[in-house]
């Protein structure tokens, strides 16, 4: 006889907004962990693949518009027997990176700066920290930072992503040189932004490159 376990998918959805790396969370309205912050999640259905379940939960539970276009990757699986006090649940965490989306229309869902999420339900804080560390690491050697940006963005937008995710300032000039010379990272649109009090910046789109060679090290 083979033991079976309920399996859920939990989403670590990260974005950069209001000068802070933020996560999409909701306030639990039921025990256990009543009124604690929690990640959006749900049980997988029979005959549903894991990425499909993650997309479904992004749409149905988290209320994220355009869930199909956002970056999504499997993070890790959490299976400690007591992680849910009611019954054993295996949880497959997914990491989603999003630009500054409009607030979810779902009740109780909110973008909260990760620095404020010191206490969460279940092991969701561990999942969130693992997701942040994955994002931090991947900014080093991939062009993933653009997943946090609008379709068209400036080099300064991209730099702000790096600075907020890595939580450290970067030299704007060296950063500019690095990303504009990285083959396939950025594609010029020909347009420029107009802002207050500064030279207009060129607008770029994501280039075809997925990897950054050589990587941009946090050192």
């Amino acid at each position: 006889m083979v033991p079976s376990v309920p399996v859920s998918v939990d989403l670590v959805v990260l974005t950069v907004r209001c000068q802070a790396l933020s996560a999409l969370v909701w306030r639990r309205d039921n025990p256990p962990f009543l009124r604690r912050w929690s990640l959006a999640g749900g049980f997988i259905q029979l005959d549903e693949d894991l990425p499909d379940a993650a997309r479904r939960i992004m749409t149905e539970r988290a209320g994220i518009p355009g869930a199909g276009t956002l970056h999504l990757e499997q993070l890790q699986t959490y299976g400690y027997p007591d992680r849910d006090p009611r019954q054993r649940v295996l949880s497959v965490a997914y990491l989603c990176l999003a630009p500054d989306l409009p607030a979810s229309e779902k009740a109780h869902m909110a973008w909260v700066p990760v620095a404020e999420l010191t206490v969460m339900a279940f092991d969701h804080r561990r999942m969130m920290l693992d997701g942040i560390e994955r994002a931090r690491a991947k900014l080093e050697y991939t062009s993933l930072a653009a997943a946090f940006c609008e379709p068209e963005f400036t080099v300064a937008d991209l730099r702000r992503v790096y600075e907020l995710v890595w939580a450290r300032p970067l030299d704007p000039r060296n950063f500019h040189r690095k990303v504009t010379k990285a083959e396939g990272f950025l594609m010029e649109t020909g347009e420029t932004t107009t802002r207050d009090g500064g030279r207009p910046a060129k607008l770029y789109r994501r280039g075809p490159a997925e990897l950054l060679h050589p990587p941009m090290l946090r050192s």
Copy 2:
């Protein structure tokens, strides 16, 4: 009502032996995939954490001596509904890196060079390739290569690990400079090897460093 799924743990156990990167596999003696190569695996027990299940399967199913001391990390979870034709099974794959161990005493288990494992049962080839890619990537920025070596090893032993895992030759002199100058990677034992026809090499142990700064890029 919450659907439950049987959950198994499958092991991608890699080693370097006989001048080849090899995996620990066994020949299935039952349908489906009768007589195909398969990874060692088993179902998790109730109240058993995932890493504990992985260690148990290393000992019981794979017959690996000293399973408690080897490097073990979670690789990925595979959940496509049809991945097992009999019933839906969720599989959490673990990656284990081992030195050249004696052959397992378990029947049907064997070390096979990964280049020969072109056809495997279930999605085990995908798991193995994901494990190899994880190992390749981690050699770049961690000191993990030593996990493939005996407790005491030479710089040449370590270089052979890199060369076989990356499947490309490295300059012995530049490699030597890189690893001996990397802070905390290697600790001299004071001993040397004696070999035929060559200057004896210094023996090293693993140092305390986990990360390699700056990384050794495959480029």
